[in-house]
Assembly symmetry: C2
Homo-oligomer: 216 residues x 2
């Protein structure tokens, strides 16, 4: 029964995700679904990405959270269009929530849409939204064992940002072991070592992102 | 429909949770449900708690993860009975999983049962397991805004361990603002500032825990 229900939900979600993708493509919007644990630095990466690219591409942002609009307010200060989705308890974004958010954004004026999912390493990996790329942000203080514990998330993404590398001197984290584990789970993933505090690694990430936009 | 399904699941869960509680009480086992984001330090707190208390109380551990048995293997080295639950995709523990795990533990030889939930700040808060206390571990590098974003989790717990305080010099985190926000959401919660790396704060936490065991 429970599995049946989940299948129905996922099936309906896929249909709406396909519609979202159509709408995005029609408007030439490239959408990135950004996932991570709570506090890994999703909003910081969004802010750094806006600052790195806003002179070249027109950016829009969707902020997903269970409650509050803190992140949307922070992002709005950068002068880009932003919509906050409050899931009201749900631990992930679903395609119908993206659909509503897209209706509230000036899609014709957006080239790159950054979608910040709810902070969670589990369920967001199961729900396609219609995005063009999926990105995971892992952070150094979380520890290098996370790929073993959340394999679906690490397997499902096109890029992985390892954030907070400025904290490497203060915590136990083996970057080589982490990278090797990730590549064993997902050989196609691009890995970027980043510090949103110092800005290190943002250029390489932004360069990859703009290249992906051209490939769609 | 979806809400109906969730209600059914939660209703069935409550019944099994009540049975678990009965079994725990019959065996004089005091159970603590430990919840946190991925990488906040659940296993480190479990290890520190074992080391602080194992000469005074007999401890058992249940490790919940989607996949892998790394944490159970780490804990087993401390010489305490441990059972690993792999949820196989589910983002939280449910009472029936605790039920199975309890059947695989020598309950007559355990005074304190530490249950490490799946790393997630959302769904674990919705599912009672039959535990006597709920504890949340937040960690400094996650940032001080988490109570706004995950209010149910911060509201539902009896104690909050703020872990990784050794990283306070290196990240932006306002301890006073965080504490105030938490207390606004949950006025009864006990807050402990801890570093599992240095051992700071573990004594106060262990003291509270043993006092709770006496009150049940």
């Amino acid at each position: 029964m429970k599995i049946k229900v989940l299948k129905d939900i996922l099936g309906a979600n896929e249909q709406i995700a396909a519609k979202n993708r159509e709408l995005l493509d029609k408007n030439k919007v490239f959408a990135v679904n950004i996932m991570a644990s709570p506090g890994a630095g999703k909003t910081s990466v969004v802010l750094q990405t806006i600052r790195a690219l806003k002179d070249k591409v027109r950016i829009g942002v969707i902020e997903g959270d269970i409650a509050s609009s803190i992140d949307a307010e922070t992002v709005a200060k950068e002068g880009v269009p932003v919509v906050q989705i409050n899931t009201g308890g749900e631990c992930h974004l679903e395609a119908n929530q993206l659909e509503s958010a897209l209706n509230n954004l000036p899609l014709a004026d957006i080239d790159l849409l950054l979608i910040e999912n709810v902070g969670n390493l589990v369920c967001p990996a199961e729900f396609n939204l219609g995005e063009h790329r999926k990105v995971l942000i892992a952070s150094v203080p979380e520890g290098d064992d996370k790929p073993f514990k959340y394999p679906l998330m690490f397997n499902t993404v096109d890029a992985l940002i390892l954030n907070k590398i400025d904290l490497l001197p203060y915590v136990k984290f083996n970057v080589n072991a982490f990278t090797k584990t990730v590549k064993n789970i997902n050989s196609r993933v691009e890995i970027f070592k980043v510090s949103c505090t110092s800005g290190e690694g943002i250029k390489a990430w932004a360069k990859w992102l703009t290249a992906q936009m051209k490939q769609r």
